[in-house]
């Protein structure tokens, strides 16, 4: 099987697996216990925090470990609005956020908060001026995804952050960095980012660990109560072995970023050329594509049909994002980009990982060719 679904989850780095296994064996203490066993675990946790902070260019006290980016996004969005004491009750976000930001906003709306969902341009990129134009006097938070998980469109978060801070420094800026981290360079300071969500399993770490960078001075209302862990922002015994492993994965991802981006861009260009060869396929072409995502639509067919055909041919890909792949609804993101129903229901995403080679892209394009010729006769017919 060829796995071209790394944006859903990457294989865990072998060194990370070893770390997790060794820490699990050697340290079973609860970091909150004040005896030696607990303190040893606590030191591992704090060292992990330092490693993550160094990888991100922030202070260790600004790192909050979570169960993953979904939780980080929930905490950033809901925690910010619920924790706000200055009466600001408005959020600006985009129509192309990950469901964890989008649904958090919907929940807040049901509690009477107000949300503006800014539409992207046809290429999947949101223009900074449209975000800024939606900011009001009572805006508490602007939340923008760095790289859209479906189309791979890179959003101008640096520009948005700079302009936002110039306009009103009291509006907090959250960036969902899940797909961008380790693939693109992003300076949190220069981009004026107050809150930044990451997930370990998208960059060679374990599932079940993420983090939220909460810059010093930013106040959040904790969503999980019952303990003082993570500066009181997230109660519950920390998952020490996985956090230590995740710290290693974050460090490796940050260190390898420039080289990874260069390598993936070459592979991506190759895959894009192959997709372009097929008239039946419509390549999604963001102004700035992320190095690891290729997205296209096959109007007239359902995403699932294409996905399973490719699966039979030995290639794993994704329809929409993994988190919403099980629904048959048209893609919310593609609809926001103005795609009609035929396109919005037939999106397919290839996503690249660290191990991929030119040869594998060649096999991928062979499979794609077979799939297209197998499916072309059914185009436009009902199922």
């Amino acid at each position: 099987m060829l796995n071209f679904d790394h944006a859903a989850s990457t294989p865990v780095h072998p060194d990370v697996i070893r770390t997790i296994s060794e820490v699990t064996e050697a340290h079973s203490g609860n970091p909150s216990s004040i005896h030696r066993g607990g303190q040893a675990a606590s030191r591992l946790l704090e060292r992990s925090r330092e490693v993550c902070a160094a990888a991100l260019g922030v202070q260790s006290a600004e790192i909050v470990f979570t169960s993953g980016a979904t939780e980080s996004n929930n905490l950033a969005v809901k925690g910010m609005l619920l924790g706000r004491v200055d009466g600001r009750r408005h959020i600006v976000t985009t129509q192309i956020e990950h469901a964890s930001v989008y649904e958090s906003c919907r929940q807040l709306e049901s509690f009477g908060f107000e949300v503006t969902y800014v539409a992207p341009e046809a290429d999947g990129t949101v223009r900074p001026e449209r975000i800024l134009g939606a900011v009001r006097k009572d805006t508490a938070l602007v939340s923008v995804i760095h790289v859209n998980n479906e189309t791979g469109a890179v959003q101008p978060v640096e520009e948005i952050g700079r302009q936002l801070k110039r306009r009103d420094a009291r509006v907090r800026f959250h960036v969902d960095g899940v797909q961008g981290f380790g693939r693109l360079a992003l300076g949190l300071n220069a981009a004026g980012i107050d809150l930044y969500s990451l997930s370990a399993h998208k960059i060679g770490g374990p599932r079940g660990v993420g983090l939220l960078v909460v810059r010093s001075g930013v106040r959040l209302f904790p969503l999980i109560s019952g303990g003082t862990q993570e500066s009181g922002l997230r109660a519950g015994t920390e998952n020490v072995p996985s956090i230590v492993g995740a710290a290693k994965a974050f460090r490796l991802a940050a260190e390898g970023q420039p080289e990874r981006a260069e390598r993936m861009n070459l592979l991506r260009e190759y895959a894009v050329r192959e997709v372009r060869k097929h008239k039946a396929l419509t390549l999604t072409e963001p102004a700035h594509p992320a190095p690891h995502i290729v997205h296209f639509t096959f109007p007239g067919l359902k995403s699932q049909v294409i996905l399973h055909t490719l699966e039979e041919l030995g290639v794993l890909v994704s329809a929409q994002s993994a988190c919403s792949a099980k629904t048959e609804k048209p893609s919310r993101v593609l609809e926001a980009m103005g795609r009609d129903r035929a396109h919005a229901t037939s999106g397919i995403r290839f996503s690249l990982g660290d191990g991929h080679t030119q040869e594998e892209i060649r096999l991928l394009s062979e499979a794609l060719e077979q799939a297209v010729s197998r499916l072309a006769p059914f185009e436009g017919r009902k199922r």
Binding site: T19, E22, V23, A26, H27, I34, H35, R36, G37, Q39, A40, R43, L44, R47, S48, V51, A61, V244, A247, K248, R251
Partner: protein
């Protein structure tokens, strides 16, 4: 691409004159090497009273904040090294000016020194040849040969021409350890780490001593002090931390029915133990973070009675400094956030609501004379000291303690 090829470190005139010059320079080089231990690629070279640091394949910029902690260094400059050709020199100078991102009109001059006499232009001729294309390219530059804000220096040698302009201030003071060794009483508070940093900056080699009253004070309190000593090690390159088991001594005073003298008795015992450790470690003074009038033990009458417990000089770098200023320094040196962690240290244990600010020496002497086994307990505490060595960049080694179970493996991260 590398923006700079070297960092040039300058040392004050003070340290470079007289018979001590060689000693000072050697100490400064050693300090630089210790601080660069986490950067094994960096190479250090000493030349004509200056130190050059070659970052290897790393970026010179990342070393700047590290090297700003070299004590005795007055300033440093990032240097470009290029072929000794006019075009190359002008290009390097242009790149340096670009990196400075001039925001307003800046007066400047070039200062060319031709050491390699085969270079086709004399020092005098070279100045306008280099300056005029730069003036054309950077309209914010205005020439002022008397008092320029920016002096672009160019040193032409046969292998390379060195070009530099930016001057970054250093920590000042004296090279580390050139004024001898002293022992710092390190509590978990805000003041003592600042006192330690001030002493380091003034050229003292500092070892730390901490009094631990386990289980009345927690492992966390001890860990906090280790972190503070680690923060000092980031400046010193290496810090030895002596942790004294203080429980027996401290609890012995609680039996004496003299609670209002508790702090005085405790501080005097600390000085006695510290004196023994200082003698063992060949330290010639004790350092404290005391600041006059701050708490009961830091009033002048208290200091007077407490200080008599030792014959060593007590250095108090912060004695006349206001709290606000101490806090500002502690933030700057990065110890504040550790100091404010809420773990109780032994100084606040068994302390009465209103401790005396004016202890009576005669009574103190009497109480000490009748405290059972005090001399022996002090001896035992000094002998039972655990010593931890902390190094810049985070590694540590321990002595006098049974090994911690399953220590963290650095490979895990």
């Amino acid at each position: 691409m590398k923006k700079y090829d070297y960092l040039l470190l300058r040392f004050g005139e003070l340290t470079l004159k007289g018979r001590n010059r060689a000693k000072f320079e050697k100490a400064a080089v050693e300090h630089v090497r210790a601080l660069l231990r986490p950067y094994p690629e960096a190479k250090v070279r000493r030349e004509f009273g200056r130190i050059y640091v070659d970052p290897g394949s790393g970026q010179a910029e990342t070393l700047i904040p590290v090297l700003q902690n070299v004590f005795g260094m007055t300033s440093m400059s990032p240097v470009r090294a290029v072929k000794p050709e006019l075009d190359e020199i002008i290009r390097a100078a242009g790149e340096l000016l670009e990196a400075m991102e001039l925001k307003r009109e800046t007066t400047f001059k070039t200062n060319v020194r031709r050491v390699w006499k085969d270079f086709p232009h004399s020092s005098q001729e070279s100045n306008p040849l280099i300056a005029s294309p730069l003036l054309k390219r950077f309209p914010l530059l205005k020439v002022d040969v008397r008092e320029p804000e920016l002096e672009l220096r160019i040193e032409i040698r046969d292998q390379f021409a060195y070009v530099y302009g930016e001057v970054i201030p250093g920590a000042g003071g004296f090279p580390l350890g050139t004024n001898g060794k002293a022992l710092l009483l390190l509590s978990g508070g805000i003041d003592s780490p600042v006192a330690g940093w001030s002493a380091l900056r003034r050229g003292l080699e500092v070892e730390c001593i901490h009094f631990h009253s386990y289980p009345f004070t927690s492992e966390k309190a001890k860990e906090k002090v280790v972190d503070l000593a680690q923060a000092l090690a980031e400046y010193a390159g290496k810090i030895r931390l002596h942790i004294v088991p203080f429980t027996e001594v401290q609890t012995s005073f609680t039996q004496m029915g003299q609670d209002n003298l508790m702090i005085t008795l405790m501080r005097r015992a600390m000085l006695r133990i510290a004196t023994k450790v200082a003698e063992r470690e060949k330290a010639l003074a004790l350092i404290t973070g005391e600041s006059l009038g701050q708490v009961a033990s830091q009033t002048l009458p208290s200091m007077n009675v407490i200080e008599r417990a030792t014959e060593l000089p007590i250095l108090r770098p912060l004695v006349m400094t206001d709290k606000d200023e101490i806090i500002r320094l502690s933030r700057r040196i990065g110890t504040y956030d550790i100091s404010i962690l809420p773990y109780e240290d032994c100084c606040t244990l068994f302390v009465p609501k209103s401790p005396t600010t004016n202890p009576n020496l005669r009574i103190v002497n009497k109480v000490e004379a009748v405290t059972p086994n005090l001399e022996r307990l002090i001896e035992e505490a000094a002998d039972g000291t655990e010593t931890i060595e902390l190094f810049a960049g985070g590694s540590r080694s321990r002595s006098n303690q049974e090994g911690e179970e399953s220590p963290a493996n650095p490979d895990w991260f």
